[in-house]
Amino acid sequence: GADGGKAGDGATAAKSGKRLTATLGTAEDSKGPAPAVEGARSGGTVRIANANDYAHLDPQKVYAGESYSTSLLWGRQLTQYQVVDGRPKLVGDLATDTGRSSDGGRTWTYTLKEGIAWEDGRPITSEHVKYGIERTFAPGFELGPTYWPEWLTGSEDRTGAVKKYGGPEDGDLKAIETPDERTIVLHFPEPQSDVPYMAAQSSSSPVRKDKDTGTGYDTHPFASGPYRIVEHKQNQGLTLERNPHWKPDTDPIRHQYADRFEFTFGKKILNTAQEVLNGRGDGADTLSTKSEIPPELYAEAARDPKKKELLVAGSRGAYTQDLYIKNSRVTDPEVRKAIHYLFPREQARQILGGPRLGDFATTLSSPAVVGWKKYDLYPVGPTGDTEKAKEHLARAKTKVDTLTYAYESDAPENDRLAQVLVEAFAKAGIKLVTRPMDKAAFNDQVFRGDAPYDLWMSTNSVDWPTPSTLLPDSYHSKLDALSNSIRYSNPVVDKELERIAGIGDARKKADALIDLERTVMKDVPVVPFLYSAVTQFRGANVGGAAVHPIYGSIAAADLYLKKP
């Protein structure tokens, strides 16, 4: 990993052109060990102070970028992203390569490396990988991604899938063969092109049946990576120690420089950041993998060159932030266009924290996605264009004078953002009704078909950096409200999506989806706002701190303490 990344380059941190998409590595790339890092010291304790504990550590339940990234410290998957100079490349992790497909993408075969072992020294076998995938069918594992159940059973959704197979309780899953200890063969009813990426997800981690402690596994999983969990006090702390049975030769991406990792939870991030930036106490060895630099401290840190050094900025994976429009309520594309022109991107970003939040977006998908191409269908200045908006409103068949905007009321800046929108919409004579809402209830209340809300802000990402989980998972008219929350419905798009689903070749599929994106965006179903970026911080002694290009936060697995 590269030290520091594009540190502190606030305004230009996330220049779209610099984004790099993940390429597939070869079997050679998949061989260990990872190249040694210059300046890294062996030993010491890296301290990670996060505001909250991890909701889940069970690999089959983890479903969030930073948790994925951090779990790499103790968990290994079939494949994983190797980051060299900030460029991500998918390589084999437990497997010798990123997977071999046959049968037009209906069968995928993985071979496990030799010498891979659990923290108690016993080897990791294909059975363990299979058991891990089987767990994703079981009740209680709805929290994780649903791709394995859906793909392996050829079902529309997980609910359908678990009817066919209900998890390890139901015995053996026929779709996965383990001819020997080192071979796994996955059989899919439909062609699947993205299996190598899915194999990198946490839910593809092996689990050993005799160590599966049920709910207990969620707080204390069994390690296969360079570190193992010695203690986990919920909401207080998590301590990792070197795993003696991890062999560097087998691992192309991880190191084992530090002796220990100590996580603490519950401390106010503002205090942590102050300690880190000023090097007080343990501050120099400390960082937070989860939190961004608190806005309170950002301006000063950006001004002071010494502190600026300690900022770690980068794009937040493939995340974008958009203004969503409920297409079933705002049916007239002219009105949606007017919204597009009215939206005050500049002011909205200023309220949320300024340029460090990311660059203005013009496309639906993030530049981090394989095959991304820049386009700008309805160009508009950053402060919006009231005149153009009025023109479109005049052209609209249905007159609109009131719109409703729903938002999560857990952060005060959301209230202020709502005020910004109110002011901007008022300029075109639209009264914007703002509706603060409980965070937990937001999805439930806003996405319901009959919910009376027209607009809301949303951050989105793909599950892995190909476009295959973007349009197909959100823009098909037959999807439920939870997936297609804006109720986008275009028969042409539906048809094209169904055609693309049959493509087994990853490259071709990606290109087709990227092309379809323009068709979708002509309808202005959403207003693109930002390609999200993050700015985090690290202690002066902490090396290897860079925002992971896929997971979008500081990669814990790359951290070490610098040589004095």
């Binding site: 209680g140 709910t215 919920q234 503002l270 102050q274």
Partner: protein, 330 residues
């Protein structure tokens, strides 16, 4: 005396029971759905129903409350989102699906912070508050009195969050005179422990001591006119002995009662102070759980706060009874 304590305990139990019922009713009757939180964002309707059933939320409120009470007394088994049973031994305050731990554990984890904060602040309040009030009363009308009265008026009027931030800015950020506020367990050494809590103690202490000082002052002034204080002087006692032996004793009862209330409130969680200084105590837990709609934790913290108030008020009454023999036998 035992009869009195028993009666007090019964009363307190009744009050707590009522509060628990009220809290339960109020919070569980709220529109937000605990099942929704437990189930997570990607939860479809069928799944939600299952979770709701698993958590027992589809049962009548009264039944749920009875279960809750049973758990408090005898412990019970709670079902996790996926139906896995989680044993929860008495006193069981329920299970937080947000924090993924029993509410009692969540509170227990944060209690040391709250105890440290409240204990220290209470010491500041008691010592500073009574001392200043007593001094002001004995020198009433003089410069000391006016100065102290001015101070206490400001103290009684200033907002904890304003003062907290202002002092943090001045003493920590701008000048570095004090360490950053934070909690280090006592096991890290008393120095680290006290250093991190110094500022919160001072702020909380100052603001609350102000009202205490005012009460002490007026109470002392009142007692000074009591006949028995005059008798004591009439015996030929020195002013010091009179004030320590008689005036202070006579003024003590309402002060003890206020201190009891103060302690009850503080040990129940200093919501704002903990928020201002980013201390992860019970108060912060309570505020966070309200914001996140973590109902079992909300009810748990409400009960703890109420318990704390009821307990300390009762304790204060006992101390008053012990201080004043007239009450003792009543």
């Amino acid at each position: 005396m035992t009869g009195y304590i028993l009666r007090r305990a019964l009363q307190a139990a009744a009050v707590l029971l009522a509060i628990s019922a009220a809290a339960f009713g109020l919070f569980y009757a709220m529109p937000s759905d605990p099942a929704l939180i437990a189930c997570g964002p990607k939860c479809d309707t069928a799944r939600l129903e299952a979770v709701r059933h698993g958590m027992g939320l589809d049962r009548p409120l009264a039944d749920q409350y009875l279960d809750y009470l049973r758990g408090l007394v005898a412990g019970r088994t709670i079902s996790d989102v996926d139906g896995t049973p989680i044993p929860c031994s008495a006193p069981c305050l329920g299970y937080s699906y947000t924090l993924h731990q029993p509410v009692l554990d969540a509170i227990g984890d944060r209690l040391p912070v709250t105890l440290s904060l409240a204990g220290g602040a209470l010491a500041v309040i008691a010592v500073l508050g009574t001392g200043a009030g007593f001094a002001a009363a004995l020198r009433r009308g003089k410069a000391t009195d006016r100065l102290l009265s001015g101070f206490t008026l400001v103290g009684a009027s200033v907002q904890i969050y304003f003062l907290g931030y202002a002092l943090q800015y001045l003493l920590v950020y701008a000048t570095g005179l004090l360490p950053l506020p934070g909690y280090a367990p006592l096991s890290d050494g008393p120095g680290a422990w006290a250093a991190g809590l110094l500022l919160p103690w001072l702020v909380l202490g100052f603001v609350n001591a102000a009202v205490f000082t005012r009460l002490t002052r007026s109470q002392t002034l009142e007692t000074l006119h009591e006949g028995y204080v005059r008798t004591a002087r009439g015996k030929g006692l020195t002013a010091r002995r009179t004030h320590l032996g008689y005036t202070a004793r006579g003024a003590a009862a309402p002060l003890v009662q206020l201190l009891g209330l103060e302690a009850g409130a503080l040990f129940g969680g200093a919501f704002i102070t903990e928020t201002v200084f980013g201390l992860g105590g019970v108060g912060k837990l309570a505020v966070d759980s309200v914001v996140q709609n973590d109902l079992p934790t909300v009810v748990g913290t409400v009960l703890l706060a109420a318990f704390s108030v009821v307990l300390f008020v009762a304790l204060a009454d006992l101390v008053v009874a012990w201080l004043d023999p007239r009450v003792r036998l009543a």
